[in-house]
Amino acid sequence: MNDDEFSEPDFVVQTLGNAMPDHGGPLRAVVLARTVRILRRRHVVQRCTFAAALAGCYLAGALSVQLWNRVSHPAAGNLVEQNPVIGSPGAPNNASPIVPVVTPQPGAIHERPLETADVERTRFEALRHAGDLQLERNGDLQAAVRFYKRALDIASKEELAVSVETDNWLLMSLKEARLQEAHHAREGG
């Protein structure tokens, strides 16, 4: 058999005939326009989805930071009224059983940026700052006294001086007690 037999007029050839494409017809342009519209719409949806995902990640991160701050640093309102455990030698003479509530003074610790990460601190300042945090944020008097005492142990003469503008009542009391000790030690010795 050769190929010529299949080129004879044949039912199948006649039936199937010629299927010629329509080169110049409008169908081509119409279909192209419709498909390009779908392509553009999908591209816009993809971009919006990506932007929404980024925004979601940002919000999740911000929320995590807020939750972390609340858990690790519970809000401290006014100072807790509690009996100071100041039976120690450094306790002020006029200590009353109830610690008076200290309202924020201008320039007081509350208004000072306590967590400025870029401030270089000396060791004295770092210990003092830690004491401030314990007193202001956590209301932990004992811890504050410990930090302040360690700070005063290494304080210079200038740093030992009481400062009405920057020292809180506890630090002032401890500084005064330290100064009185030094004075008694000089007179006694």
Partner: protein, 193 residues
Amino acid sequence: MNLNDRVAREQLLRRAVLDGDERAWQTWYDESFDELQSYVLWRCGGRRDAADEIVQETWLTAVRRMGKFDPQLGSFSAWLRGVAANLVRNHFRRQRGVHRPFPRMNGDPVAHNGEGTLEQHERAERITAALVALPDRYEAVLKAKYLDRLSVIEIAAEWNETPKAIESLLTRSREAFRKLYRDPDQDLKEDER
């Protein structure tokens, strides 16, 4: 273009289209439109109205489901033809559900009077029905022979078969087509497949 080049090129185009590149899409569109339209016209028995609808639906399906096309499994043209063949089948089944079934034909259909739009319409529907009912391999060899205009030797080379095997396949395909054209509802016997 060898297989690896074809796969690499189509993977790049596919990625570009999925990223929204209109030029990549138009490249593919311009390369494949004529071939697809010829194929769909063939499958629809020359009925241009049905063919246009299916061509349009094929391209819309292709752009929506581009993510499912895998160049390693076959060429973009072959994938388009597969989509079109399914649409033709579904279109035909919907129409057959609406219209009455074809009457069985006696004698050679060529002798049937082909004049008149109603008869042309029915003739085209019979062709479509016969092609839909043909096994894929029969339809493929008839397409290669009568649509792509390949010779037996060219088909044999492309399919990695002997010319004798292709001739035999063509004979069986044409016979099966005749039978289905006369009676689209009949089932081909196992040896006729």
